[in-house]
């Protein structure tokens, strides 16, 4: 392997570090209609009357649309494989408004000033309704968020819109109640996590135009170009064949851009007016009407015998979908299926309900529900360790999946077989790196400060088993270089680079000999998109398969040109050699020949899906310093050791891990979507919604304990989402080890810690 497992630079690095115009807003400069939305000031209301006459007269205004002007068929904006498990509960513009910021009218004009003026001149008479703001009271509430009769689900997800239920599900393996009866220790607690904003640096943005053939071209910052095409076709009721979606560089997504957010509005403006249009979400809009992580409440029952061997796990997850059900039914599943699977137990029970309320709709965020689940379950495991007076790392070593379990069927993980796992090695290495045995549980260092450590483990999946597909096409060009066409979306994670590394090794060629092309739905082979930690694993395997086919073609064509049988010839990446005659033909010559006369143009394409979704694993250990006078937490050191199978690009994997850990720290310590009593988001800017800065994160150290995943390309599994899952439970554990206080709700602020300490008489 010359390129796999090497930290090669990203293909696009020079463009990125020299500030080249490569993002959506840069590549669409020029004359575009400015598109903005009039947004609802109320969290629940009906539009009784809307008058746009005056606004339409503002010079420069080209188009104003209200609910009367848009198609009436419901859809979901969740970027998932069809048929989407998310309910079809939206219209482009609806008479009923379900959260503050819901779109009331679309305004498009020649410049921002005229659009802003027009927005102020639209007269709306709202019938303000009582809002449902506490999701815990949603089921069978008298307020119904989606009373409409055309609400529909394509899959049976246990939805009941008249009861505010977006989805519900339950499963049991073994007999949980029976096993609890035999448990010497039971932990039974409730944990809550808040909605978090992905806060990618580039907000949502889309430009649309009509091309020479009368088709709608959509240039957009998205993780899911092919889903965008389908959703637009659904929402606008225009045939898919009339839509082309192009993805330039993306300034981060983290799941936010797995929902289509800014696409529909300029698209419908362009479709109606024939003119190019662009919509750029402000940071505020990204906060108030993006697609944040689902707020959740999780009840855990955890039972163990007197030696601390876990026997039974029962988990109940209640999820706030907010106004719309995007990704609700699927994210909730991961909170149990991923979190519970990491522990060997005799029986498991998992129940979940996702409910509607009048807060903003939620969506995908790195970790996709597993993050919330791991906070709850890992915290419960830490509480169990405390109850047993045991080192939590030891308790885990006795109960979690380890190398010994390879070959095990995982009943809570759709009966998939565990084929690779070095989580035990990860844990041991992490302990050594942070010097756990010496530091556990805490040390008073004087001055009212305590240093303590905390731990957690986590897993994720690699793609969605038997569902999502990745395809690639590789062409041999004249002069012997290759073009790699992919449908997967590089959102900064470096998949263009990683897939080229894989291709280079499979074709025995130089990494620079491979040109990668980002996604254009007219040209790229189909790929479900970049989410579910699927790209390296799924699309990577498609690259491996495609290279095999292309190699065969090169060999046959070379042999034919040399006048020998393919079975007598060999291809070493540079030339085809004929064994009998010793004659050779170079790849460049084959390339040239393939573009002339009767010779064959050499190209191959293969797609890949996987019947399994092998979990990557991670152990995360943290050292904090806690100020007993103020409750303030300082992160001193965070150690994360990851088993992601074979590491394809150690540099990029390390950055992913470091970045994910920091996002996890933000979620743990302060990121908190807050509403006022009318359902309006209070902290809708970076002034108030704080994400970690470089002063807040202490030292982060990442290492790998590779395994070999037989179903992945070169033995690789995923890394993207896994890495956000350990900070919350690990930090909560460290707080406990410093104060004996269990923080069961995020974020863990100094204020909350101090209040609890005061209530405990500790301060």
């Amino acid at each position: 392997m010359k390129f796999v497992n090497k930290g090669v630079r990203k293909k696009d690095s020079i463009a990125l570090v020299t500030g080249k115009p490569v993002y959506t807003d840069d590549v669409t400069q020029g004359c575009n209609l400015v598109v903005k939305l009039l947004r609802s000031p109320h969290s629940h209301a009906i539009i009784n009357e809307i008058n746009t006459e005056k606004a339409k007269k503002v010079p420069g205004i080209e188009c104003i649309l209200t609910y009367e002007d848009v198609p009436k068929s419901r859809f979901t904006t969740a970027g998932q494989t069809y048929p989407e498990p998310s309910p079809y509960d939206r219209l482009i513009l609806d008479k009923r408004l379900r959260c503050v910021g819901d779109p009331v009218a679309i305004v498009a004009g020649l410049d921002e000033k005229s659009v802003d003026k027009a927005l102020g001149l639209i007269k709306v008479k709202y019938e303000v309704l009582e809002a449902l703001l506490d999701y815990r009271t949603a089921i069978d509430n008298k307020i119904i968020v989606h009373p409409e009769d055309d609400f529909k689900t394509l899959c049976d997800v246990g939805a009941d819109n008249k009861r505010n239920i977006c989805s519900s599900d339950a499963m049991e393996v073994g007999d949980v109640e029976k096993d609890f009866k035999n448990c010497a220790h039971i932990i039974e607690e409730t944990y809550t996590t808040k909605a978090n904003n992905q806060s990618m640096m580039e907000t949502f943005r889309t430009q649309t135009s009509i091309d020479t053939y009368g088709r709608l071209t959509v240039i957009t910052s998205t993780q899911v170009p092919f889903h965008v095409r389908r959703i637009l076709s659904n929402a606008l009721q225009i045939p898919k064949s009339k839509i082309r979606v192009i993805k330039p560089r993306i300034g981060g997504g983290f799941g936010a851009k797995q929902t289509i957010v800014s696409e529909i509005f300029p698209a419908i403006v362009t479709w109606k007016t024939g003119k190019p249009a662009k919509m750029v979400y402000s940071r505020k809009e990204s906060f108030t009407n993006g697609s944040p992580r689902h707020e959740a409440e999780m009840k855990i029952r955890l039972g163990a015998d007197e030696n601390g061997i876990i026997k039974a796990i029962h988990m109940f997850s209640l999820w706030n979908a907010g106004a719309y059900g995007d990704h609700g039914p699927t994210t909730v599943g991961l909170s149990g299926h991923k979190a519970m699977t990491i522990y060997n137990a005799a029986s498991y029970k998992f129940e979940n309900e996702v409910v509607y309320s009048n807060t903003m709709g939620a969506g995908a965020f790195r970790g996709y529900g597993a993050t919330q689940g791991f906070f709850a379950l890992e915290s419960a495991v830490n509480e169990l360790a405390a109850k047993l007076n045991m080192d939590p790392t030891v308790l885990r070593m006795n109960n979690m999946l380890t190398q010994k379990n390879v070959g095990k069927i995982m009943p809570t993980y759709y009966n998939e077989e565990l084929k690779s796992c070095t989580l035990d090695k990860c844990m041991l290495k992490a302990k050594e790196m942070i010097n756990w045995d010496e530091k556990f549980p805490s040390k008073d260092i004087g001055n009212d400060k305590v240093r303590s450590v905390g731990c957690a483990v986590a897993m994720q999946g690699s793609g969605i088993s038997s569902c999502d597909v990745g395809a690639v096409e590789i062409r041999l060009n004249d002069e012997g270089f290759y073009t790699l066409l992919i449908g997967a979306t590089d959102m900064g994670t470096g998949c263009d680079t990683i897939l080229a590394q894989i291709a280079a090794d499979c074709l025995d060629t130089d990494y620079d000999n491979i040109v990668v092309h980002g996604v254009d739905t007219d040209l790229s082979p189909y790929d479900t998109g970049s989410y579910a930690s699927s790209t390296t694993y799924i699309t990577g395997m498609a690259v491996v398969k495609t290279c095999e086919v292309l190699r065969d073609k090169i060999l046959s064509e070379g042999a034919r040109l040399l006048g020998c049988k393919p079975e007598d010839a060999e291809f070493d990446g540079k030339q085809v050699v004929c064994a009998g005659t010793g004659k050779t033909i170079s790849l460049a010559e084959i390339g040239y020949a393939s573009y002339v006369g009767t010779n064959a143009y050499l190209t191959a394409t293969r797609s890949h899906f996987s019947p399994t979704s092998p979990p990557p694993f991670m152990a995360g250990l943290v050292e904090i310093e806690l100020d007993k006078l103020t409750g303030k937490i300082d992160i001193i050191d965070y150690v994360g050791v990851v088993d992601c199978g074979t590491v394809i690009n150690p540099n990029l994997a390390r950055i992913q891990a470091e970045g994910g850990i920091v996002q996890g720290m933000g979620m743990t310590l302060y990121e908190d979507v807050k509403y006022d009593e009318n359902g309006r988001m209070l902290n809708d800017s970076f002034m108030q919604y704080k994400i970690p800065s470089r002063m807040d994160v202490g030292k982060i150290r990442v290492d790998f304990e590779s395994s070999y995943e037989p179903t992945g390309p070169f033995g690789a599994k995923s890394i993207g989402e896994l890495v956000i899952n350990t900070p919350a439970p690990a930090i909560a554990n460290a707080v406990y080890n410093a104060t004996n206080i269990n923080m069961r709700s995020l974020p863990i602020t100094g204020e909350k810690i101090l209040t609890k300490m005061i209530n405990n008489g500790q301060n």
């Binding site: 930290g7 630079r9 990203k10 696009d12 690095s13 020079i14 463009a15 990125l16 570090v17 020299t18 500030g19 080249k20 115009p21 490569v22 993002y23 840069d26 400069q29 992905q198 806060s199 990618m200 640096m201 580039e202 907000t203 560089r249 993306i250 300034g251 981060g252 983290f254 402000s282 940071r283 505020k284 959102m491 900064g492 994670t493 470096g494 690009n649 540099n651 990029l652 390390r654 950055i655 992913q656 891990a657 470091e658 970045g659 994910g660 850990i661 920091v662 996002q663 800017s685 970076f686 002034m687 994400i691 800065s693 470089r694 002063m695 994160v697 030292k699 982060i700």
Partner: protein, 159 residues
Amino acid sequence: MQIKLWINDKEYIDDVLPDTLLLDFLRSKGQLSVKRGCETSNCGLCTVILESKPILSCSFLAVRANGLHVTTMEGLQEEAAEFGNFLADEGAEQCGFCSPGFIMNVLSMVKELNNPTEDEIKKYLEGNLCRCTGYMGQLRAVRKFLLLKNNREVSHEVC
């Protein structure tokens, strides 16, 4: 109102509205390296150099730049690439959207601070948010870059 300013040493005379932000003015003049990540002077993505100081162009009116020199990354391509290579070697230009603002500030820091400690580096760059990398890779890149710079200066002194 009419203003005259220099962008990367090129003179521009233009009419701007009193509320036009320098950020928007620069982008309208093709300086597309200048990014907006917030509107509230919190993220540092819009950092450009005014005369010799880094400023946040999202919180600076274009009219205030009247008579002054503005430098964007388009005017510092070589310096940007020199440091940018260190960033790329760490993989720390993940989505890259924060990179121009961050690099502009790093280049200013190198001019302003002599042999900064790790804490001084972090403090100087505190206003540059990055949601992708977790900052460690950026720090590694800065440290390696400074090491190279210092060695170079030392070797200059020697000869």
